[in-house]
Amino acid sequence: MNPSMRAVGWLLAFAIVVAGAVPWFLWGNSQLIGGLPLWLWWHIGWMIVATAVFAAFTRHGWDRYLGGIDA
């Protein structure tokens, strides 16, 4: 993958992580699962997804864009 495609990929990944943290598509929904609203379960799951994306970024993107201390 060329470097600019990769950068756009990360940008897109972060945009999706930000946009999906609030489940807009469940607006007005009050369905309960296990006593908690469905939209709260979505948010909980999404934060775990965000952690996975962040973990991948620290391995494959972090140093590429701002560099390391001894590079």
């Binding site: 609030v22 009050s30 939209w39 948010h43 701002l66 560099g67």
Partner: protein, 513 residues
């Protein structure tokens, strides 16, 4: 089961109140001891006092940053809002803190860390002042930061005052709780530096994460599970469970999450932590763990507030919901322990604020503007004197109770958020000039300040009445407009001006550039 002490008459209630006070004061004393131990390990130079010699590992860095967010805003304001308006606050804070702040942690925090490693900066104003060859800019950023720090420290004192009212059912007056935390804050910050604060932050962060989940388990087993709480909500507050409301509009959720996330990065105590990591690996690990940690704290804390509404818990005027709820469903000692833990965490957070604030005051205001040749000894005393004066001032102001915890907190976050975009422009655009920075920071602050302090004026525009100087326009926080103006002015003015010979853009160049 309701707490018998709350229902019975004077004698028992007094006994319970003294148990509660004993637990709270005892816990605060233990926290103070830990700070003292850390102080004995602390060197005496500024780098160690403020930055613990840039040596914080993952666990300690993660928790000391996390604990700085463990404030009255999380423990008391958040549950209060969830109690009054519903649990969507979990989404606002989760998005803000778990995701937006984490991304800024990389964009602002890691970049500042790299620059700090090269040039040894201790504060944000110092870094900017050096890069732009401008003492005036340095002073402006420090002054603006201290100005907005004031209401945020005040918020901790308000939170503590209201918590003890709730915990002791009014036996301890509001001013008593506020005064108690003020005394501990001053004692503590005078005795320990960043290392002391960082260690107690870690212990208190872990402690609070533990007890808040125990509190959830206790309350749930007392009432018979989350389904019972949800049924109560459906009966008492049917709109709470549906996502969104007339209060939690999309505009409100987005504005609040964005403003607070950017504001948090410019808090002196958070921003200073961007300089203290031992290695890049520490910053990376903290970044990854952030969303999960945020989730573990906010979900239980704000659910407790929400459930209190469903259970029909009534909160006395001027008290916080969390202590009242715990007082009704858990034993007095446990309720007191949670509140003590929250207050100790707030004390530790306040100390981080005061400590960072005092470094802004001595290094970025007093030394450059008043006495450049100040001795280290005298500076250390000035820092401590400044802390006492500042904390006393916020205590007196907290007695006036100018708004709810959420209002005071949001106002402070909005003020800090104004700094974030000019700083980001400076970090990433080498053509940024000193005049651009002064215009961006000055202009956005003026816009925001006018909306905080000038009373609302209704004006008529083509038959439609618009409230000028209101805090929101069409549901959007005016802080967002200030941020946009700050960015536009920084870029626009930099564009049309030329950098002076003493401006050193290369200071912000890091290895990947």
């Amino acid at each position: 089961m309701p707490n018998p002490a709350l229902l019975s008459g004077g004698g028992l209630s007094t006994a319970a109140t003294s148990v509660e006070l004993l637990v709270v004061v005892g816990y605060l004393l233990v926290a103070l001891l830990v700070g003292l131990l850390a102080y004995r390990l602390t060197g005496t130079d500024a780098e160690d006092y403020y930055l613990a010699s840039r040596s914080l590992g993952t666990l300690v860095l993660l928790f000391t940053t996390f604990a700085t967010l463990l404030s009255a805003f999380t423990f008391f304001a958040g549950p209060n809002l969830a109690y009054a308006q519903g649990p969507e606050w979990i989404l606002v804070m989760g998005t803000m803190d778990g995701i937006l702040f984490a991304i800024l942690w990389y964009l602002i925090g890691y970049k500042q860390w790299l620059i700090g490693q090269q040039h040894g900066y201790v504060t944000l104003p110092e870094m900017l002042g050096d890069r732009f060859g401008s003492t005036r800019l340095r002073g402006l950023v420090a002054g603006v930061s201290l100005f907005w720090l004031f209401p945020y420290v005040m918020l901790q004192q308000m939170g503590a005052g209201e918590a003890l009212v709730g915990l002791t059912d009014g036996a301890v007056p509001y001013w008593g709780g506020a005064a108690l935390i003020t005394v501990f804050m001053i004692l503590y910050v005078g005795l320990a530096g960043m290392r002391g604060v960082a260690w107690t932050d870690t212990i208190q962060g872990l402690f609070m994460l533990g007890v808040i989940w125990i509190a959830v388990a206790w309350v749930l087993s007392a009432i018979g599970g989350p389904a019972v709480a949800a049924a109560g909500l459906e009966a008492n507050n049917p709109t709470f469970l549906a996502l969104g409301s007339s209060f939690y509009t999309p505009q409100y959720i987005i504005s609040t999450a964005v403003v607070i996330a950017f504001g948090v990065t410019m808090f002196p105590q958070i921003n200073q932590r961007f300089f203290v990591a031992e290695s890049a690996a520490v910053l990376k690990r903290s970044f990854t763990l952030w969303p999960v940690l945020v989730l573990l704290l906010f979900v239980p804390a704000f659910l407790l507030g929400t459930w209190a509404a469903g259970l029909g818990v009534s909160v006395p005027e001027g008290a916080n919901v969390l202590p009242v709820l715990l007082g009704e469903y858990t034993p007095a000692w446990f309720a007191a322990l949670v509140i003590a833990g929250a207050m100790a965490a707030m004390m530790s957070s306040s100390d981080s604020m005061l400590l960072s604030g005092s470094s802004y005051f001595t290094r970025d205001l007093y030394r450059p503007f008043v006495e450049p040749a100040v001795t280290a000894d005298r500076e250390a005393w000035l820092a401590r004197g400044g802390v006492v004066a500042f904390a006393t001032g916020t205590f007196l102001a907290s007695l006036t109770r100018p708004g709810t915890l959420i209002q005071v907190g949001s106002t402070a976050f909005g003020g800090f958020a104004q700094l974030a975009l000019p700083v980001m422009v400076a970090l990433y655009w080498p053509k940024t000039t000193r005049l651009g920075m002064l215009a961006g920071i000055g202009g956005s602050q003026l816009l925001y300040l006018s909306h905080v302090f000038v009373p609302t004026v209704p004006i008529d525009v083509g038959g439609v009445t618009i409230a000028l100087f209101a805090r929101t326009y069409g549901g959007w926080d005016v802080a967002l407009a200030g941020m946009a103006l700050g960015a536009a002015l920084t870029i626009g003015v930099s564009w049309v001006t030329t950098a002076g010979i003493d401006e050193a853009a290369e200071r912000f160049v890091v290895s990947a550039d």
